[in-house]
């Protein structure tokens, strides 16, 4: 096994004096791996993303990415939150370009933007247009977010992350409240992308089918303090026509049973 990209060591975290959500939690995630994180609401799925993104600080223990402890957002980590976090006063294009604009604002200082990054406005503009085209929202580039559907907003937020050429992509419920055809297309786009670019991808979801579709490994979180990680291996991500494949349904059932069991033991 290669050296892990992400190492969570003895992580303990609680919100402002509340009960711990993670307690001496350890986990390793390989470069380019596709993970799903599933669990009931309030189990700490989003919290885990925030910790990985450097937006929350651990009470104890560390999150190490690429050999460096995460103490603030890392330039090559892309994060797409559930409500997308688009600027309401900026067009789709301006929103998609926001990360690059922030990098241009600071210059390649190694803290806010990668040290080996070269400022090139024209190239940045080209890349924005390329990705907008690729995700099929190029014709919406001058629209404001309030005019978009949920799926279109989701794509804008994804473009905003992909433009930064992340080596780690964190997605919080990326397919919730999106109609089925759009969802399946987005799943295909993301799967192809992360395979091609060897981007590690961690998708948080409450949906069993999404978890089995997207994660080569599935981390199951529970309500209450998560101590040792419960990880399920999953080979179904490679299946093309998963809806008619028994292995896919078996995996979903297995995951459902595991989650059901957790719910019983923790009340």
């Amino acid at each position: 096994m290669t050296v892990a990209m992400i190492e969570i060591r003895d992580l303990t975290f609680a919100y402002g004096g509340g009960p711990p959500i993670f307690e001496n939690f350890n986990l390793k995630i390989d470069r380019g791996a596709a993970w799903s994180v599933i669990g009931p609401s309030g189990c700490g799925k989003t919290t885990l993303l925030y910790l990985l993104a450097g937006l929350h600080r651990a009470d104890n223990g560390t999150v190490v990415i690429d050999g460096r402890p995460v103490v603030r957002p890392r330039p090559r980590t892309g994060l797409v939150l559930q409500d997308h976090g688009l600027l309401p006063w900026a067009s789709v294009r301006e929103n998609a370009r926001l990360g690059l604009s922030v990098w241009e604002f600071y210059g390649s200082d190694g803290t806010h933007a990668p040290a080996n990054w070269h400022k090139d406005r024209a190239d940045a503009d080209r890349r924005v247009d390329f990705w907008l085209q690729k995700l099929g929202i190029a014709e919406l580039r001058h629209q404001y977010p309030s005019k978009l559907s949920r799926g279109q907003r989701q794509r804008t937020a994804i473009v905003r992350s992909l433009i930064m050429e992340p080596d780690l992509l964190l997605l919080d419920e990326p397919f919730s409240a999106i109609d089925a055809p759009t969802r399946e297309e987005l799943q295909r786009v993301i799967t192809n992308l992360i395979r091609k670019s060897k981007t590690a991808c961690i998708i948080v979801t409450h949906d069993i089918e999404v978890a089995v579709t997207m994660g080569e490994k599935i981390l199951v979180l529970r309500k209450g303090a998560n101590q040792s990680p419960l990880v399920l291996e999953n080979e179904c991500t490679a299946i093309e026509d998963r809806h008619h494949h028994p292995a896919f349904h078996n995996k979903c059932d297995e995951l459902r049973q595991i989650m059901g069991g957790l719910a019983c033991t923790t009340g």
Binding site: G85, A90, V102, F105, Y106, H112, S146
Partner: protein, 253 residues
């Protein structure tokens, strides 16, 4: 809610205004109410001379006051809006001070700051300051934490957050507050300029013309002051329309 003012409508409004004025002049028929036919030539003759300099002095004071107020109130408002604990401490103080008519502080400011232009400017700035402070604070408090977190995850520190989130988020509120307070600001300017200066429309209208019964000139001064208020209002309003373009049509989320 917003009634856009077209150039045609503005022209119509101005003509109606002149008609009413003329009618009043006929009805009252006294020197204190000269007709526009008498006043407008005086206005155009003096606006490029002495009156123009008074107008410039007043404009400079208002603009300086707006500048000071925006540059101090906006950052403090953003700070209070984003730091609920601080806001809870200062909110009662602001609530008490906000409605005080700041003009009553005129003598105090004169004594403390001296009878220079700066004291007049500060008095006006004080009025605008509280208007902006309150709306910017409320606007900043409405920003969703997820939005801030998203932008932070793109590498934004405090400076970039200000540039890409706080500044554009509070700009519409700043402009609205300015538009609504610019009338009061000019009213206070009018009073402040009546003493301890020899420049400004307040001085021109009260000391140079009214007190020596030069009524047509006095009306030229009143016209100039009205134009100042009108111009500021519409400049701010057009900026507002431009900045708020994204709010124009129904928000869904």
């Amino acid at each position: 809610m917003h009634h856009r003012l077209t150039p045609t409508a503005a022209g119509m409004g101005f003509l109606m205004f002149l008609a009413f004025w003329q009618a009043l002049a006929w009805i009252i028929h006294r020197p204190i109410m000269p007709s526009p036919v008498e006043v407008l030539p005086v206005f155009f003759a003096s606006i490029f001379g002495e009156l123009g300099f008074h107008l410039l002095a007043s404009t400079a004071r208002v603009l300086a006051a707006i500048g000071i107020a925006v540059l101090t109130a906006a950052p403090i408002g953003i700070g209070l809006g984003q730091l609920p604990r601080m806001d809870r401490i200062f909110a009662p103080l602001i609530a008490i001070v906000y409605p005080i008519p700041k003009i009553v502080l005129l003598p105090v400011i004169y004594v403390l700051m001296g009878i220079t232009d700066i004291s007049k400017i500060l008095l006006i700035a004080l009025i605008i300051f509280f208007q902006i402070l309150v709306v910017v604070r409320d606007q900043a408090a409405k920003l969703r934490p997820e939005l801030i977190l998203s932008v932070r995850s793109l590498g934004a520190g405090r400076r970039a957050l200000f540039r890409y989130v706080y500044f554009p988020a509070s700009l519409p509120a700043v402009l609205t507050a300015l538009r609504l307070s610019v009338g009061t600001a000019i009213a206070v300017l009018f009073i402040a300029e009546q003493s301890l200066t020899t420049w400004g429309l307040g001085y021109y209208i009260v000391v140079e013309t009214y007190q020596v019964l030069r009524y047509p000139q006095m009306y030229a001064g009143i016209l100039a002051m009205s134009l100042l208020g009108l111009a500021l209002y519409f400049v701010i309003y057009s900026l507002e329309l431009k900045v708020c373009a994204y709010q124009d049509s129904g928000e869904t989320g």
